[in-house]
Symmetry: C2
Subunit: 303 residues, 2 copies
Amino acid sequence: MIDVCLLGTGGMMPLPNRWLTSLMLRYDGGSILVDCGEGTQIAMKEKGWSPKPIDLLLITHFHADHISGLPGLLLTMGNAERTEPLTIAGPKGLSRVVGALRVVAPELPFDIQCYEFSENEQTLQYGDLRIKCYRVHHNVICYGYSFELDRAGRFSAERAKELDIPLKFWNRLQKGEQIQHEGRLLTPDMVLGPPRKGIKVTYCTDTRPTDLIVKNAMESDLFICEGMYGEEDKLEKAKEHRHMTMYEAAQLAVDAKVSKLWLTHYSPSLVKPEPFMKKVRKIFAESYPGKDGMSEELRFIDE
Amino acid sequence: MIDVCLLGTGGMMPLPNRWLTSLMLRYDGGSILVDCGEGTQIAMKEKGWSPKPIDLLLITHFHADHISGLPGLLLTMGNAERTEPLTIAGPKGLSRVVGALRVVAPELPFDIQCYEFSENEQTLQYGDLRIKCYRVHHNVICYGYSFELDRAGRFSAERAKELDIPLKFWNRLQKGEQIQHEGRLLTPDMVLGPPRKGIKVTYCTDTRPTDLIVKNAMESDLFICEGMYGEEDKLEKAKEHRHMTMYEAAQLAVDAKVSKLWLTHYSPSLVKPEPFMKKVRKIFAESYPGKDGMSEELRFIDE
């Protein structure tokens, strides 16, 4: 299970009742945060999710609305007596930016490791969770993230019995281990059916639509994408500032064959996303306007 | 008239429904902001006060809860198309801290001038407003601020007539000008009574009580002071972290003969200040628990 929460849905500047866009994922006892603008730690507290177990902070890019809440978050994690190291990953220049912002948070009870991407596509591993990091198209270097959890095939007790595999090895084989036993190599594929559908979440904001987004978002269960503008006459503005309209996000959702789309990163000029949803849903029916604190537990299909 | 607003009342970290401590003053068409923690720009928007006319930003000290909202505020002021320069004043090291935080706000349509204090007591002038800046006692260099507006004596038409001063000079003399006329030097004291009571506001937070606070807060109309803890057993903690209890703030109010005290900078552990107010008021009757967005128009007595 992956627990996801869209902590905020605003772009550019935080507003009363609209936190800046940021995503939090809870998986296997730890947490991942994507972006940390001004107020993100308050949004987290409002949701009731703790900043303490955040092991990994992914930054899309270095515009203030995506990172200026970092020093406050780090201090709050420190006040919660976190001592385990924190990894921060993001575009080239990350160490310099984190170092500069820490001028007001110089002393922390935990270490910070910065990891800078050097390629257009890179993969990080967070336990069993695979994180695909891919370059998007904004006016500064910016990355999108896809979170993938594989699911092994179903275990066949019948097949294990047929192959005379002792009961004590079943669990280990089910977990993917290979076992040497009495001159025989026992492998998971001997007792597991074909891989089943896993879980996939994709997050991308501050970008024009690109093929790399479609590729990486392919068949996501949940696609969280910026829809900065709803007014049709804002397309030119979107192009100029390297953002996208809600309709472009919906088209990406279609192209990437995702199950569901949550829009986010609304322009401060956009009071409410709802008036535009009817038209957005004509392009992609399973479109939803993101709301601050909106969350979902993503589970394996028959779990 | 000085319009003051306590934008937030929290210390250490921003909380849902409690912005970080910060004060905004509007005077003569411009604005002054004291401290800018994470979320201060949102608190300002919630109050309906604009960040655009802020000409002067005073920083008490460089702990994140007092300055981490700076990059976001600067960008929002830039987005509001401010082009007039902004002065930021604060303790030694200010330029370095502002420079570092601007890593995420490098391009602005206005200039920033940093002014670093070198003395324990210094005076800034903001139009007619005199700002006394004085060192307080925290675990890093920290300053308190007093805002003073003088008021000239009452103009005496009778006296002006007695002295044969032409009507056309009355207004200029009233405004404090000296005038050379037909071999005679006309001075304001010829037509003005003794100076009348002006307006004084004092703001001090993140400090132990000190004599310099009493001296600078003397006879303030409004004294805004930290009261981080209300529980009596927190006195030791207050001493250790160089903060003060509400009772110590009330005693400062007594010693400085102020008219009114607003408490602020509550510890995140303090849910509500009200339960402690009865005891605080036994020390100083005109004590009030600060609230986010609490404001007052301070006027000359019979204005």
